[in-house]
Amino acid sequence: MPVLRRFLGTAEGIAGGAILLAIAITAVLASVLFPGDPLAIVAEPMLQPFQHQDAILGTDRLGRDVLAELVHGARTSLLVGLAAAFAAIAVGATVGTIAGFAGGLVDEALMRVTEAFQTVPGFLLALALVSVVGPSLPVVVTAIAASAWTQPARIARAEVLSIRERDYVASARAIGMHPAEIAFREVLPNALPPVLTLASVIVANAILIEAALSFLGLGDPNIVTWGGMIAEGRVVLRGAPYLSIFPGLALVATVLGVYLTGEGVVEALASGRSR
């Protein structure tokens, strides 16, 4: 694993990896640390943080444990971020590969569709989709992916355009492989690495879009989300700022962690190439 070693050799990699790992562990252990519904009313409402053993980070306006909400919210954020990034890259890479490999009319058609999606600001597209279909987690993930797949598609297409002229592709054609097989078994795997470096940007973006949607009341109301917590805390911002600050900090840490990890990966890959 030379890439992993190089990744851990960068400062960004270590910092980002550590932050992400901590958050991921929290998310995975959420149900162990705080079993039951994190939205349950467990104590007096509006307890100040760092003063009560039962609710270390205090309670919100209904008496729900802020720490429990925060921990379970990590799960939602990571889940949405990863699922949306996975969906966006899968769709984007497929579309890009088909467009780049097929060329001609298919290429034109697919790229115009991609551009059409690109002209609409991603957040507005997600907003429109969620308000039409109704807020629930799968819809939110789909909406974010729908606005994020265009970049992977364009990069995949650019890569494919150069790869399809290589000798091994020509030889695959010569031995009579089906074009679809060539595209997805020979070309796509080699076009993927540059697309994957986009993953960190997409994950970070997805987490932020999900938070923004929840903030606007378009998140799934049955699960805890950091954006939703900030929105609820906003009403009492002057009296109990901690209700907005804690989820806000969690959001910053997560996005920073994802971003630094991405930087670390890019640097590790780049130094690998230059060597």
Binding site: L39, A40, E44, L62, S131, G134, R234
Partner: protein, 536 residues
């Protein structure tokens, strides 16, 4: 816990002290009203149609009630709680078939034409009865309006209509618009709907979309020396957090309809120069109601509904969600209605064990995962409080083994889901009580309302006994008999629980202390503000 109670108590103390301080000047007449000045108030919604004769809703009244007047306005002190506006007296016939209004003389419209009984007849027959959201119910049997002279209007009904109901309906339902501008036009599309012409103390000047509405003083107002203010500006501030900041910065002088969030009141009441007033909304009581879809077989069972009622901690709701600015409800008529309210109804104290027992009895035992059955819960999105109560209700139901899944919608989608598509099991709604159960309360439980009528019984509930009481009361002329029927109505609703009344609340006004005569009638925010004045 203890520090929370303390701060709430001190808040209530300050509030009442402030109340007293605003009420005293009017009582003692210690201060003389000084004319002039511009009042800037926060508007949280921006209605396009400003015709209160068509859309009798608080958002419209808030602006339009200064321009277009009703026949009478609600009052704290006058007889039957009414003070005269465009009518000077009203009298019902003993058979309930006619009501005679004497109209004010010497009143002119803002465009200079005289106000006459023809305007009242036109408004009643062509707008209130066929077009108005509430008038359709109250004036459904209005047959004709006779105008023997310019200042008498006699309302003729085809079936006996209780005078008590007409009286209670005068403030919200009888906004009079000028016949000469509406006659022969498409009333719903008339340009005067967005630039209203009325007889009120202020004239409509302009509306800049997204920014403000401007009203200016009507120098020819019938009540001489009034209004005191030169101008009222409604600044459009849809962000509720912004209203508090704007008040503190003295950018606005008044925010009505709880534009300042409840959670911020404790803090802002301590800011010098700002007063928090909870008076002035007595005739516009909102009710927090759990609407029930009786088509679900579990919910059709009275025991299940009783269990839900027992699972809700009303005290908690009032204390935590409304921060004390509400009262727990006992039934469909709020306690601040002196005419109809009765506390002689079955009550459902908070009791989780009893709720669980009732659900077991009803035949819905807890499964292995602790759940009995699942429900779709749709909280109305109009208020922070209704949404928060939705969050609370989900937890309260979870405690008795009912798994409620929250579905959030925007206002339009919520109304469609609940009142047209019936795509809900339970919903949280904030209906308004308007001083008489027949105006907008009985429709919440009566059967036979067509699909799609918002804020009506769309839960498929039908109770012939209750329906009979409601229709009997609708035609009972004798006031004490009618009142008695509505007491029975309250008892039946509280017994059979077609819906569950949880709490009732009025709004809060926050104002600079330089604004005088605030909240001096039970519909103050939607009254004409002719006696409001500013200390320079």
């Amino acid at each position: 816990m203890s520090d929370i109670t303390l701060s709430r108590r001190s808040l209530l103390l300050t509030t009442s002290a402030l109340l007293a301080s605003t009420a005293m000047p009017t009582l003692l007449l210690a201060e003389e009203a000084k004319p002039g000045g511009r009042l800037i108030v926060a508007a949280d919604s921006e209605p396009k149609n400003l015709n209160p004769a068509i859309v009798a809703s608080n958002g419209v009244f808030f602006i339009a009630s200064k321009v277009i007047e009703p026949l009478a306005e609600a009052s704290f002190d006058d007889e039957n709680g009414l003070s005269p506006r465009l009518a000077t007296s009203w009298e019902g016939s003993p058979d309930g078939l006619s009501v005679t209004f004497k109209l004010r003389e010497g009143v002119t419209w803002h465009d200079g034409k005289p106000f006459t009984s023809a305007d009242v007849a036109f408004s009643a027959l062509n707008i209130w009865k066929p077009l108005q959201n509430l008038g359709r119910v109250v004036f459904k049997d209005l047959e004709d309006v006779e105008t023997p002279d310019d200042h008498t209007a006699i309302f003729k009904f085809s079936t006996p209509t209780p005078f008590q109901l007409i009286r209670n309906a005068l403030p919200p339902l009888t906004s009079v618009v000028p016949k000469h501008l509406y006659e022969g036009t498409d009333i719903a599309a008339n340009p005067a709907n967005s630039a209203p012409v009325g007889t009120g103390p202020y004239k409509f000047a302009e509306h800049k979309a997204g920014e403000y509405y401007r009203l200016e003083k009507n120098a020819n107002y019938w009540d001489k020396d009034k209004p005191y203010l030169d101008e009222i500006i409604y600044r459009v501030l849809p962000d509720r957090a912004a209203a508090a900041g704007a008040l503190e910065a003295e950018e606005i002088q008044l925010a009505a309809f709880s534009a300042v969030p409840l959670a911020d009141l404790d803090r802002i009441s301590k800011v010098p120069g700002i007063v928090v007033v909870s008076k002035g909304y007595e005739a516009l009581t909102y009710q927090l109601v759990v609407e029930i879809n009786h088509r679900r077989k579990e919910l059709a069972d009275l025991k299940v509904r009783q269990a839900i009622a027992h699972a809700i901690d009303k005290e908690f709701v009032v204390k935590t969600i409304f921060l004390g600015y509400a009262k727990p409800s006992t039934g469909p008529v709020p306690q601040n209605d002196p005419q109809f309210y009765t506390d002689d109804v079955p009550t459902y104290p908070f009791d989780v064990a009893k709720a669980n027992a009732l659900l077991d009895e009803a035949g819905y035992p807890k499964a292995a995962d602790g759940k009995r059955f699942s429900l779709k819960l749709l909280p109305a999105p109009y208020f922070n409080e209704t949404r928060q109560f939705g969050d609370y209700l989900r937890q309260a139901l979870a405690a008795v083994g009912i798994d409620a899944e929250l579905v959030n919608n925007d206002a339009a989608a919520h109304i469609k889901a609940v009142y047209t598509d019936h795509a809900f099991d339970i919903a949280v709604g904030p209906p308004v009580y308007r001083g008489d159960p027949a105006i907008s309360t009985t429709i919440l439980v009566q059967s036979g309302t067509p699909d799609g009528v918002p804020f009506s019984n769309q839960g498929g509930y039908s109770n012939p006994e209750l329906d009979a009481v409601i229709s009997k009361a609708a035609e009972t002329i004798d006031e004490s008999a009618r009142t008695e029927l509505y007491r029975t109505f309250q008892k039946l609703v509280a017994t059979d629980l077609p819906l569950i009344n949880v709490a009732e609340w009025g709004f809060i006004t926050v104002a600079r202390d330089s604004v005088k005569n605030v909240s001096n009638n039970p519909r103050w925010a939607v009254s004409n503000w002719s006696d409001t004045w500013l200390e320079p």
